[in-house]
């Protein structure tokens, strides 16, 4: 291929892919970097889609993550509209939808995830929220004034519910779990979250998921396991994600809930790495799991870029972090709550939506859920990083005062 010298190819130009490209330069790699992406204009502020963008009345678009000037200054070539269709690990190239074979000396897979589809009986996928196009469709729904039923009470479902309520849209949420986000935050916080949504007028049904959905003239009919049929003029499905890894089937790269990597970001194939939402690590129970959150994609993506540039395989040890914005509150989840954890109020009060809850087993903290108190986040991360116990954490949080004018 005369057009491309074999350098590092990054597949996917969103948070992880672009962070990996920057990490390559930061780590001293001076050769060619080619970033492929299926979208014509890839790499934008995705978290905003379910937050401010949906709540705002204007037609603002999420900001691109990189300007062409910055990419050019770093010698990073982004090829939009180039979908990776296959990976050849023997001859070392990526095959694109244009039939090109793009050679690589190292390749970083950062193709992310797609919204898990929920199909009607007729086989049509329900609307989801993952891309700018999805946002445009959902904005039209808001303008229509129709009530909206959201299937799924995960981060997307909850954020969309809150954003739609701020636009005075009638909202009903169907959640599979007994309480929203229960395994992540525990009973107390999950119960608080449910009450928060109901207090803002969301009709919230828990412990249920559709048996089937049919689409008719005036909307959808949702069949529930208890025999009820709910009618919904508008539906949105927020039921999780599927890794964009099908293009690697048969390539020789191990896939299990995503592209399997070790702590350094390496797959089972030498020279093939993965980063961000698409990557899956051992879950401690013989399987694999992904970390589908923004700051992880960036930090772990950067880490893989550094490893590739330096010819190293340092393990990535970032503390898991996800934030969610609902009804003017920012809820921070740091670390990973375990099934055995007890939930302990470390500071503040659930009644005032200003609290820090620790999740610990035998006094050892595994995770912290915090509402607002953003200025305390750095302390919280340090507590988890150094393996603090519950008493130490409560003491540390008591001494970090919160001036009332900040958040």
């Amino acid at each position: 291929m005369a057009r491309f010298a074999a350098g590092v190819v990054v597949v996917g130009a969103s948070a992880a892919g672009l962070a990996a490209a920057d990490g390559l330069r930061e780590g001293g790699y001076a050769g060619p970097i080619t970033v492929l992406d299926a979208e014509p204009e890839p790499g934008y502020d995705r978290p905003m889609l379910s937050k401010g963008m949906l709540a705002s009345k204007d037609n603002s678009q999420p900001a691109p993550l990189r300007s062409s000037e910055r990419l050019a200054a770093n010698g990073i070539q982004v090829l939009g509209g180039h979908r990776a269709m296959g990976l050849d690990i023997d001859r070392r190239f990526v095959v694109t939808n244009w039939g090109e074979a793009i050679p690589w000396s190292q390749v970083i897979v950062a193709t992310g995830v797609a919204a898990r589809p929920l199909l009607t009986r007729e086989g049509s996928p329900l609307p989801t929220l993952r891309t700018r196009e999805d946002l445009a469709a959902l904005r039209s729904v808001v303008t229509s004034g129709d009530p909206v039923t959201i299937i799924g009470a995960g981060f997307i479902g909850l954020e969309v519910a809150a954003a739609l309520r701020s636009r005075d849209v009638e909202v009903r949420v169907l959640g599979r779990l007994d309480l929203p986000l229960l395994p992540l935050v525990g009973d107390q916080v999950a119960g608080w979250l449910l009450a928060l949504h109901r207090a803002h007028g969301v009709r919230f049904e828990v412990g249920t998921q559709p048996r089937a959905v049919t689409q008719g003239g005036s909307g959808y009919d949702i069949e529930l396991p208890d025999g009820r049929v709910l009618h919904a003029p508008r539906l949105l499905a927020g039921i999780g994600s599927v890794p964009n890894a099908d293009w690697l089937i048969g390539s020789g790269v191990d896939l299990d809930a995503g592209v399997v990597i070790d702590a350094a970001g390496r797959t089972n194939v030498g020279g093939v790495w993965a980063a961000g939402d698409v990557a899956a690590v051992p879950d401690g129970h013989g399987g694999h799991r992904r970390f589908e959150h923004w700051t992880h994609a960036i930090e772990q993506g950067r880490h893989v870029g550094l490893n590739v540039a330096r010819g190293q395989s340092q393990p990535y040890a970032g503390i898991p972090y996800v934030w969610t914005e609902q009804y003017g509150h920012t809820i921070h989840l740091v670390g990973q709550r375990q099934a055995t954890d007890q939930d302990i109020l470390l500071a503040g009060d659930l009644g005032t939506c200003d609290f820090v809850v620790g999740h610990a087993t035998d006094g050892v903290l595994h995770a912290i859920t915090m509402c607002d108190r953003t200025r305390t986040l750095r302390t919280v991360k340090k507590l988890l990083r150094c393996g603090a116990g519950v008493e130490d954490a409560a003491a540390a949080l008591a001494t970090s005062a919160q001036p009332s004018l900040t958040r």
Binding site: T374, R378, R407
Partner: protein, 66 residues
């Protein structure tokens, strides 16, 4: 001297920067954007500020060398 600058046309007040380094960044009550409360970035702060620059979904932060 290294300084950190917020582009107010990009900043949307996420506050991710505040979470990463609360002594350098602040979202004042009622403000739609973040502000820098300590613009000179010393060696101790550099790593965290660089992380904030990377993390901002609006990519509103830049480090400037004077």
């Amino acid at each position: 001297m290294t300084r950190v600058v917020i582009d107010p046309t990009r900043c949307t007040g996420y506050g991710i920067c505040v979470g990463i380094h609360p002594e350098v960044f602040l979202v004042p009550e009622g403000s739609p954007v973040a502000v820098v409360i300590q613009d000179v970035v010393g060696d101790d702060d550099l790593e965290d500020v660089q992380e904030a620059v990377r993390a901002c979904p609006s990519q509103a932060l830049t480090l400037v060398e004077d």
